[in-house]
């Protein structure tokens, strides 16, 4: 009895929006239902355009403030001036942005490789966890800007310090999150697999890694943005190219609109990478981000 009821109940859910023929709905009920649906659709549409509206509003406000108070260009350039600067310096900006993107991504990929490997090891063994964790914490608490001069001594000025700084700054969140995901596998689940005679490596592969994926992707979003932070930091201190270098050169020439142009381009790259990370996340671990609407059967 109960089973059947549950089955019918759950079976109804996917077709929830469409009316069923055996349901005695009146015309006015349909109209009201349609109105509710329409309101929900409008709300969803608003939520989608809202971020763009806010950004556009910010830019407009900025422009107005600069013009009304007549703020000099070398203090705060208006968005229109920044835009002009971007189109004027388009080629150097694109070249340097490409350089920054490259160093950032190389550092970020290295961080992924080491972070995943180390995370799996630290997360699966309490012994390694206890031995290694304090060192990791100590390592992470070093301000990375203080490391750059050392990197310059070791590797010289150029691309290498930027890649390594991007790597150093982003491998920690990945390691910690992957380790957390693997270490928090339910003991019962581990027992189920152990009682089947599963090898520890197999438990990591079948349960630990998939379970750590939401943690991993959450850390990727932090890691990619901090990778940019790392590479641009190193470029400003010890670069010969890249957006950070461009901005330092521009500011030394009081070419303030170009500095702002560099900021805008950096933000655009960073947001783009963040969005890509989010897209991959929703594609691969939809199971971890289910919404209330997907639920069926309340028991």
């Amino acid at each position: 009895m109960h089973t059947e009821a549950a089955a019918t109940f759950a079976g109804n859910i996917p077709g929830g929006q469409s009316a069923r023929t055996d349901d005695p709905m009146q015309d006015e009920d349909f109209a009201r239902d349609a109105a509710i649906v329409a309101a929900a659709v409008r709300r969803k549409r608003l939520m989608r355009v809202l971020p763009w509206l806010v950004i556009a509003g910010m830019v407009v406000l900025w422009e107005i403030v600069v013009r009304v108070f007549d703020i000099p260009e070398f203090v705060l350039p208006a968005p229109s001036v920044v835009a002009q600067s971007i189109s004027k310096w388009w080629n150097p900006i694109i070249m340097n942005a490409g350089q920054t993107l490259k160093t950032t991504l190389v550092g970020f990929l290295m961080a992924n490789l080491l972070g995943l490997t180390l995370g799996v090891i630290v997360g699966s063994s309490t012994l390694v966890y206890h031995g290694l964790y304090p060192l990791l914490i100590a390592f992470n608490s070093i301000p990375k800007v203080a490391v750059v001069p050392i990197l310059v001594i070791w590797f010289g000025i150029g691309t290498a310090p930027a890649i390594i700084t991007a790597f150093l700054i982003s491998f920690f969140p990945i390691t910690v999150n992957v380790a957390a995901g693997i270490a928090t596998v339910e003991p019962e689940l581990r027992d189920v697999l152990r009682a089947l005679g599963a090898h520890p490596l197999k438990i990591v592969r079948k349960v630990g890694l998939p379970r750590a994926m939401p943690y991993y992707f959450a850390s990727l979003k932090i890691a990619i943005t901090s990778s940019f932070l790392g590479s641009i930091l190193a470029e400003t201190v010890a670069g010969q190219s890249g957006i950070g270098h461009l901005m330092i050169v521009a500011s030394s020439r009081f070419e303030v609109p170009l500095v702002f142009a560099g900021l805008v381009v950096t933000a655009a790259m960073s947001v783009t990478m963040y969005t890509i990370a989010t897209l991959i996340e929703t594609r691969t671990i939809g199971w971890a981000m289910r919404s209330q609407g997907d639920m069926a059967g309340g028991v």
Binding site: D191, K206, A288
Partner: protein, 270 residues
Amino acid sequence: MKERPFVEIDRVWMRYNGTGGTLALRNASLTVEREEFVAVVGPSGCGKSTLMRLVTGLWPASSGSVIVAGKEVDRPLSIAGMAFQNPTLLPWRSILNNVMLPFEVVEPHAGRLRRDRASYEKQCLELLELVGLKGFEAKNPWQLSGGMQQRASLCRALIHQPQLLMLDEPFAALDVFTREDLWSVLQNLWMVRKPTVILVTHDLREAAFLADRILVMTSRPGRIMIERKVELPRPRTTEMTYTPYFQDLVQDLRGHIDRARQGEEMAHAH
């Protein structure tokens, strides 16, 4: 000559974390026959779950011997299926693939899986149908109710035809109606597959409904206090739970457990 018991626990002691830890079991002994359905009941924290992990070899005993299928248990058994209070299904897998999990681990299935996937999937679908989950195999666990998830969890515990099925309060988190439904589902599964079952529970009616024999444990440090045979024909029905025999049995068990708990309070008072 009588066949040797399938599970023999002989004077087992269990202390956690070396000398300073809790003493969970004190001189516990019990035997379980092949294809027998045994329920272990007792006050909470009496070491029921510990007993289960000892039998499956997940934890080693501090002292005493645990013998399953004639062999001393010194590592996790690979012949056991387990189910817990929490269904512990993998949320990234469909119900079907959750039930398939043991085949990916247990030999010789793991080696054959790639080749014979279709026939293994067919076995899973048949078992799912037996517990009333037909048509839900493609769903994700979180799309199912708690009771349905627990059914799937039972399927996963049984799919590879384990000789030993260990159940640790599998229905404790469910509402009364769902729970009694699942008693019948489990009884049905056991009658079809005939594994040896050790069911740990604190629900005395559940124990009386399902088991051939009920073992009552003392409070911690636990050992087996008494045992009761349940003389009810199979398949048992909900109606039987209203008979005087059933109710007297449950009363009797309750009395023993109450005494065990009082003993615990006395011990604390000293």
